[in-house]
Each structure stands twice: as structure tokens, then as C-alpha cells.
């Protein structure tokens, strides 16, 4: 609500109240004055006729009194004029029919007690009447009169009724005029006040408008300083403030643009963060970011998984505890720590190395500094589990080595096969032609024959080894049937060597796509090796099942309870010509042949052995044909 309205709302009721009060007070005062003035006229008239009514009042003669009453009646334009006897009897009345009546009403009884003129406002026939009365006293003593008051003879009362219509009309007229004057005066005062307020409020309105403009972001406003009073000072201060605001405040549009840009930047940042987070979490490597103080800034889940850090430890954010836990897992924590320390002292350096865990895992570690511009704010550590890769690399190397040896051996075997056949033929022919007494020749010739046969067998094995890829016949076979067939070949040998054969053939692993002969070759070779490893007898287990480790593969498990293979030799057992058997007892091609066949089938073979307890070969073969290797 505007101040002007408030002032109006305050002053208007006040003015109305004051006006009403003045009117009420004026009404009473005017009433008194008018009544008194009217009564005075009545008193005057009564005073005039009073001395003349003496005789009439004494005798009660109407004809004497009535002309006097009529004269007063006409003079005053009275409603009535009457002469009353002391007992209220109407001696004469301008309304002649009243003559002789006796008034006993309270008003009459009251005026009959008047000792001096008096008046009273009464209601007469619904009209307000000023009832004026004056006692009449005898001019001379009359012994016949008995109505005495205070030593004077009371003849009665002259009574005049004057209509108050004119008085009331006059009063109303005066009150109307006073009201008009009050309204006019009040209106003029209000107008002056409003004009004064308008003059005072005008600069304030300007200030208000300008303040609103500033609120809308328009700072190029100023208000005129028209006075030197407090409002003028306020206007000056406002202008100064607006000027300062204009110079120091960024406009709303600019601010809006900035907000939009910031929102965009924030959006981009969120996008980047999201990308960063997604990248961080989707990588196969463990990532750890630390600041220049060595405190962990962030890490991905893979890092925690790789280092097998429990959730509660990760949540604790206790970097010292975390480091201790990490170091505990390593085979050489000193090197690890030394490298880290060195990088702290050389923050700009990048590094790459690898370290091993006590459980055999191998991690590669790559580290480079984190920069914002040119400033280094931390370091990113990337850990990659290369255990499998290293293993595969080893296997690949082995495979290549075996392949090279195999080819070499096959070439050699092919070349020496014919000369060897000739040697064996002549040796066997010569031995057949020995006669008794040729004992001196028999031993060398038979030795040649025997060794030639052994060489022939070796060459045959080598030739078999070299022909594997040439004679493959892949087809749907029943693995369990192939195993039964192979085991029947070695069961006699096992029995003589006191080895118990145990079969656990899984039902779901019966059909695979493979070369049956080669699969049987795998089983026979592994069985021979195992039987050889148990010179004192033992248990040889054959087990087929669907692979739990590699879906889509069957697993053939061959486990013996022999002496086991020393750890140092475990890597060499698949190499051609490697054997632990005595010379002449083995060719060293059995396991390498197994390895070659498994490779050709797209499978894998693993070895676990513990000295004194036994050895376990685990062969994985694909159930369905493996995809042909990509041609380079």
C-alpha cells in the first residue's frame, strides 16, 4: 500500500471523527442557543401581556383573556397560548374548545410550580414544541385569592407553545452549513496534505522506480537531486550507489551467458568425468592415481581386484595400511618400494617394469606423471596382470622350438631311414647266415642288428612325428570309446608293472571332433610315461569330463602316483628328445608328440607335479572344430 494511501486512510477517519464530534457538539450548542432565543421571544411576549391579564386571571373571564392570548398567538405565530388557573383549569385558550378543561398532565403540573418563567421541550401531537410558561402574580392583594406563593398571590400560568419546526429546520440548516464548511475545510486540508505528500514523495517515487530498474539489472539510472534535505542526500547516495553498481556489477545478460557457459563447461566436465570414470573402470588394467604427496586420489575396481584388496580396507582410505598389504603380497617388496621412492624423487620420469607375486602372478607396472599444463600434480600407476601372457609366451616359444626340432628330426629321419634300412637288412641277412663257430662275429653282428632296429624305431617315431599334420582325420568321435580302446592296449603292461588303472568317464564328455588315432596316441603316450614313473606300481587314473575352467572343452585328466617330476624339469618335458629315462629306454619324443597332437587339435596341455606324490596331466580338447587359424 502506498504511503499516500496510508496517510489518507489515517487522516480520513480522523477527519470524519473530528467532523462528527464538532457536529455533535455544535448541535447541542446550537440547540441550546436556538431554544433559549426562542424561549426569550416567548418570555418577552408573556412579559408584555402578563400585566394585562391580571383582571382576566382573577375573574377567569375568557373574553378578557382571549384577545390578549390571540395577540400573543399572532405575534409569535404560536401553536397555542393559554391561561391556566393555579389548579390547571384552562381559563382561556387560543383553541377555544380547550376552555374549562383541567390539565393534570405532568408537564402542566410542573409549570404550575414555576416561580419564574421557564420552558421545556415537549411532544405535542407528534411535534416538538417549546412549551414556555410564566407564572402570573396578582398586582394587588385580593382577599378572595388563596393561591399564594412566597407571600405573593399566584393567579395562574400563561403558557405558550411554540413550534420547534423552524428551530429544528434552522438548526439543521446551520449544521448543514457547518458540515459543508467542515467538509470543505477538511477537503482543503487533505488536499494540501496530499499535495505536500506528493511533493515529498515524488523524489521517493523516483528513487523507488530507479531501484526497481536496478533490480531489473539496469544500472544506468540516476535520480535528480532537487532538495538539500535528507531526501536529497538519499538521492545523492542512490546515484552514487547506482554508479558504483554500474561499474562493478556484471550485467544479467552477461551473467546469464556466463551461467550458460558454466553449465556447458560443467556438462562437458561431467561428460569428461563420466568418460574418465567409464574408461577407468572398463580397462583391464588396475589404475591408481596418487597426488604429489603420495596420497591416493583415485583407483579403479580392477586395481582393487588385482591386488585383492578387501572392501573394508579400500573404504578405510588408510594409504599406509594399503601399502603394507600390497607389499606383503610381493616376492621382492624392496625393489618395489625402491622404484616407487625413486619415482617420487624424479616426478617427471616415466617408468616400466614388472614384479612378481608370491603366488606366482606377474604384474607389469607402468607409471607416468599426471600434469595440468606443465605442472605435475600427481602420478598415474598402471598395473597389468601378465601372468597368463607370460605363460602363453613361454608356451609359444616352446611350441616354436618343438616345431623346429620336429622338422629337423623329420628331415634327419627321412635321410637316414634308407641307409639305416640297408644296414639293418645286411645285418639281419649276415646274422641269418652265421654258422656255428662264428661266435666271434655273432656278437658284433647281433649288436649291430639290435641297435639298427632301435634306430629304425626312432626313425619311425620321428617320421610319425613329422607326418602328424599330413595324416589328420578329424571326425566326430566318442572320447570314452577311444579311451577304452587305448587303455585296453596298455592294460596288460599295467598289470605286469603292478599299476592299477582307474577310469572315471564322464557321460557329457563323450563326443568331440578329433582324430581318433591321435587322441588314442595321446592317451597311450601319457599312460606309458605314467607307468614308467611308477616302477613300484601304483594307481593310474583316467578321467574325462566337461572342462570347468574352459567352457566348450572336454578335459582328459591322467594322474599317477609316481615319483613326480622335479620343478626344474617340468618346463622341458615337452621338448623333443628330452627324457629322464636311461639311454635306450626312451626316445624323448612321447610327450612332445602328445604336445604336438594337442596343439593340432586346438587344445592345451598342462602339467602339475609334486615330487614323491605323483604327476597330473590335464588335456583340454575342443568339443567342436576349432576355427582355422588366420593365415598371415
Amino acid at each position: 500500500m502506498k504511503l499516500q494511501t496510508k496517510v489518507l486512510l489515517l487522516l480520513f477517519p480522523l477527519a470524519i471523527t473530528a467532523g462528527a464530534l464538532i457536529l455533535i457538539l455544535s448541535k447541542g450548542a446550537i440547540n441550546d442557543v436556538l431554544l433559549r432565543e426562542t424561549a426569550e421571544r416567548g418570555f418577552l411576549a408573556l412579559t408584555e401581556i402578563s400585566p394585562k391579564v391580571d383582571a382576566g386571571m382573577r375573574t377567569g373571564e375568557e373574553k378578557t383573556l382571549l384577545p390578549l392570548l390571540n395577540s400573543a398567538h399572532v405575534q409569535l405565530r404560536a401553536l397555542y397560548v393559554a391561561a391556566l388557573a393555579p389548579d390547571g383549569t384552562v381559563l382561556a385558550h387560543t383553541n377555544v374548545v380547550e376552555k374549562g378543561r383541567i390539565y393534570t398532565d405532568p408537564d402542566t403540573r410542573q409549570i404550575l410550580t414555576y416561580e419564574k418563567p421557564g420552558y421545556k421541550v415537549i411532544d405535542s401531537k407528534g411535534r416538538k414544541v417549546l412549551d414556555i410558561a410564566a407564572p402570573v402574580w396578582a398586582k394587588d392583594e385580593d382577599f378572595l385569592l388563596s393561591h399564594e406563593k412566597g407571600g405573593k398571590t399566584f393567579l395562574g400560568v400563561l403558557r405558550i407553545g411554540l413550534s420547534l419546526e423552524n428551530v429544528l429546520a434552522t438548526r439543521a440548516m446551520i449544521l448543514r452549513r457547518i458540515a459543508l464548511i467542515l467538509i470543505a475545510t477538511g477537503g482543503a486540508i487533505l488536499l494540501v496534505i496530499l499535495l505536500f505528500l506528493h511533493k515529498i514523495l515524488f523524489p521517493i517515487r523516483l528513487l523507488s522506480d530507479s531501484t526497481r530498474k536496478i533490480g531489473e539489472g539496469r544500472y544506468d539510472v540516476s535520480v535528480p537531486v532537487t532538495t538539500s534535505d535528507e531526501i536529497g542526500e538519499l538521492a545523492g547516495a542512490f546515484n552514487k550507489m547506482a554508479d558504483t553498481l554500474e561499474k562493478t556489477t556484471v550485467s544479467r545478460n552477461k551473467l546469464s551467458e556466463e551461467v550458460v557457459e558454466r553449465k556447458k563447461a560443467e556438462e562437458n566436465l561431467l561428460q569428461l568425468l563420466s568418460l574418465h570414470h567409464a574408461t577407468l573402470e572398463s580397462t583391464a588394467d588396475g589404475i591408481l592415481v596418487i597426488d604429489t604427496g603420495g596420497k591416493i586420489v583415485t583407483k579403479n575396481r580392477k586395481f582393487l581386484q588385482m591386488w585383492r584388496i578387501p572392501d573394508d580396507m579400500a573404504a578405510s582410505e588408510d594409504d599406509g595400511k594399503l601399502l603394507a598389504y600390497v607389499l606383503e603380497q610381493l616376492t621382492n617388496p624392496g625393489d618395489f618400494t625402491a622404484k616407487v621412492t625413486w619415482l617420487y624423487t624424479h616426478p617427471e620420469e616415466e617408468s616400466f617394469d614388472a614384479f612378481t607375486f608370491k603366488d606366482g602372478r606377474i604384474f607389469e607396472r607402468f607409471s607416468l606423471p599426471q600434469r595440468i599444463g606443465t605442472r605435475i600434480v600427481g602420478r598415474v600407476w598402471n598395473f597389468r596382470d601378465v601372468t597368463e601372457r607370460r605363460k602363453l609366451e613361454g608356451m609359444l616359444l616352446q611350441s616354436e622350438k618343438l616345431s623346429a626340432i620336429g622338422q629337423l628330426a623329420a628331415g634327419v629321419a627321412h635321410e637316414i631311414n634308407n641307409p639305416l634300412g640297408i644296414i639293418l637288412g645286411f645285418a639281419q641277412s649276415t646274422v641269418k647266415h652265421l654258422k656255428p663257430g662264428d661266435e666271434a662275429l655273432a656278437l658284433p653282428l647281433k649288436t649291430i642288428e639290435r641297435e639298427a632296429v632301435r634306430c629304425k624305431n626312432l626313425v619311425q617315431n620321428l617320421l610319425v612325428f613329422s607326418r602328424i599334420s599330413k595324416n589328420e582325420r578329424f571326425q566326430e568321435i566318442n572320447l570314452n570309446d577311444a579311451m577304452e580302446s587305448a587303455l585296453s592296449l596298455i592294460s596288460a603292461q599295467a598289470k605286469t608293472r603292478n599299476v592299477e588303472l582307474v577310469k572315471e568317464l564322464g557321460a557329457g564328455s563323450s563326443h568331440i571332433h578329433a582324430d581318433k588315432t591321435q587322441v588314442q596316441q595321446i592317451l597311450i603316450n601319457l599312460a606309458n610315461n605314467a607307468i614308467d614313473a611308477m616302477p613300484k606300481g601304483g594307481t593310474l587314473l583316467f578321467k574325462t569330463s566337461l572342462s570347468a575352467k574352459r567352457p566348450g572343452y572336454v578335459e582328459i585328466l591322467v594322474r599317477d602316483t609316481g615319483d613326480g617330476i622335479p620343478k626344474a624339469m617340468q618346463k622341458k618335458v615337452f621338448e623333443p628328445f628330452f627324457t629322464t629315462k636311461e639311454v635306450g629306454q626312451g626316445t624323448g619324443l612321447g610327450l612332445s608328440l602328445v604336445y604336438e597332437i594337442v596343439e593340432k587339435h586346438g587344445g592345451s596341455i598342462e602339467l602339475e607335479s609334486e615330487e614323491g606324490k605323483g604327476t597330473e596331466f590335464s588335456v583340454h580338447l575342443p568339443i567342436h572344430p576349432a576355427a582355422p587359424p588366420a593365415k598371415c
Binding site: E62, Y80, T94, N95, V96, V97, E98
Partner: protein, 293 residues
């Protein structure tokens, strides 16, 4: 405003006849002469009516200017006012007198124009003003009024009315007689009785009417302020009737000795009517010649 026009006419006539009044004679042997009791306005108005009706000017004599010298050629004297009527005259002269309410001249060559309207005209007019009027109260004192009272009673009977009259011996009896009539009458009419008509009585009548809500009919339009209504002939009409009587007498035609005016002027005091609570119809108000609002 209506009553101003006659006065203008009177003024015009007076101005026109001023030289003749000064000389006191009609140049060409006038047969009719007029005598006024005074120079009072009503007489002048009646004179104007006389001359207007006659169509010519007559010698006019005012007693306020001395003894009139009626010309020898005059055969008829028209007297306006009691003094003029009672003036001694030659026997050869025929007298037509008016505006002399208390005067009774019993002579064969005498004709009187009364102030009272013809009785039926009066009562029917009062009835128009106050349709509920049944009993009309009348106080009278002058013996001359007795004849008119008879006519009034007769006319009242025809109009289903009655007259409650009371003859006074003395004027002082008015209050007492009014008290007697109070409660018996519907209205009161004050006749143009010179014995009764004075200021005191008029006040008494007026107050009696106003205080007791009894319509008061006054005998003259000039007194209308004191009463409710007036049903009276104008002075001009009286003059006109006097002229007719004089002309008839001059030509020897038979005519009534007493002439009552039938053309009346109706005056109504609306304020008085309102005070006593009497509702006057709009039609009556439209017919009124004079209205006090």
C-alpha cells in the same frame, strides 16, 4: 399572479379617468354615477368591473374626498361600500348598492348586490373542496343574513347537507358558540358579516380550525391565509353585477331586488389543508383561481 391582472386593469382605468375624477363630472349628461365609500382597493376594483360592464365611464365620487355632487342628469347611483350606500340621496335616484354587508335599505328604487355567492353555488363549491362535508357550521350576527340562511338551508337540503347555524347576540359569544358546535360540524363557514368579522374572531376561528382539524371557509379571498378556502365573487364581478342591475333599472326592466353572484372565485390554502389533514382533489386544485401552496 391571477389576482394581479384585475388590479392592473383598475390601475389603467384609474389613470384613464384621473382627469375626470379631478373635475368630478361626466361631460355628456351621464345617467349613472358611482359613489365609493373610500378610495380603498376593493371599491376601485368593483368600480372597474362596473365601468367595464357598462362600456363607458361614469361619474365617480369618493366620500373620502367630500360630499358627492350627483349630476342632475344622473338617474341611477351605484354605491360601493356601506357609507356610500347609506348616503342620503334624492328620491328621483335609483340606488344600486354593493359591498355593504351590514346595510339593509328597504326602498322600492333600491337594488342590492350581495357579497355572498348564490347559496347553491357556495355549497356546491364547498362540497368540491371537501367532498365529505355534511354539516356546515355557521355563526352569524347580522339580521340581514337571515334571508340568505334560508336559501342556504334550502340549497343544503338539495345537496344532502345540513346547516348548523348559531346566531350570536354579541361578538364575545364566538368562543362559547364554537365550543357548542365542536363535535357537531364537519366544517365552518364565516359569512361576510361585518358584526362578526374582526381580527380577534378571525384568529379564534382560525385557531379553532387548525387546532381541531375542522376546515374553515373564509368569506373573502383576502382572508385565505387564515382559512382553508374561500368561495367568493370578485369585487370586479360585484361591480359587473351592479352595472347589470343599473342598466336594467335604467331601462325599466324587472329584476330582483337582491342579487347574489353566481360567478365565484375559488381560493385554496394547501398548507392549511395539509395541517388539518384534508386531501383536496387535483381536479379541484386545477379549478382553483387562487392557491396558497
Amino acid at each position: 399572479m391571477r389576482n394581479k391582472q384585475p388590479w392592473l386593469t383598475v390601475l389603467f382605468i384609474l389613470l384613464a379617468s384621473a382627469p375626470r375624477l379631478a373635475s368630478g363630472a361626466e361631460p355628456a349628461e351621464p345617467a349613472i354615477a358611482a359613489v365609493l365609500s373610500s378610495e380603498a382597493g376593493p371599491y376601485r376594483e368593483a368600480l372597474a368591473g362596473l365601468q367595464e360592464e357598462l362600456g363607458f365611464s361614469v361619474p365617480v365620487f369618493s366620500l373620502s374626498r367630500g360630499e358627492p355632487k350627483i349630476p342632475d342628469s344622473a338617474r341611477i347611483v351605484v354605491a360601493f361600500g356601506s357609507k356610500a350606500a347609506l348616503l342620503r340621496r334624492q328620491d328621483r335616484l335609483t340606488l344600486v348598492y354593493a359591498m355593504s354587508p351590514g346595510v339593509v335599505i328597504k326602498d322600492k328604487n333600491t337594488f342590492e348586490v350581495h357579497m355572498e355567492p348564490e347559496a347553491s353555488v357556495l355549497l356546491s363549491s364547498l362540497k368540491k373542496i371537501q367532498p365529505g362535508l355534511k354539516k356546515l357550521g355557521i355563526l352569524w350576527q347580522s339580521p340581514k343574513f337571515e334571508a340568505y340562511l334560508l336559501q342556504l338551508r334550502s340549497a343544503a337540503a338539495e345537496l344532502d347537507m345540513s346547516i348548523e347555524d348559531s346566531r350570536l347576540e354579541k361578538t364575545a359569544e364566538v368562543p362559547g358558540r364554537l365550543r357548542i358546535l365542536y363535535g357537531k360540524i364537519d366544517a365552518i363557514w364565516l359569512p361576510p358579516d361585518p358584526l362578526l368579522l374582526n381580527a380577534d374572531n378571525l384568529t379564534i376561528f382560525t385557531e379553532f380550525s387548525r387546532s381541531n382539524n375542522i376546515p374553515f371557509f373564509v368569506p373573502s379571498g383576502g382572508l385565505l391565509e387564515q382559512g382553508l378556502a374561500s368561495v367568493t365573487p370578485t369585487f370586479r364581478e360585484i361591480g359587473r353585477l351592479a352595472a347589470i342591475a343599473a342598466r336594467s333599472a335604467l331601462t325599466g326592466q324587472n329584476q330582483k331586488k337582491i342579487i347574489y353572484p353566481t360567478r365565484v372565485e375559488l381560493g385554496i390554502n394547501k398548507a392549511a389543508a395539509a395541517k388539518i389533514g384534508l386531501k383536496i382533489s387535483e381536479e379541484t386544485l386545477r379549478q382553483a383561481d387562487k392557491i396558497i401552496p
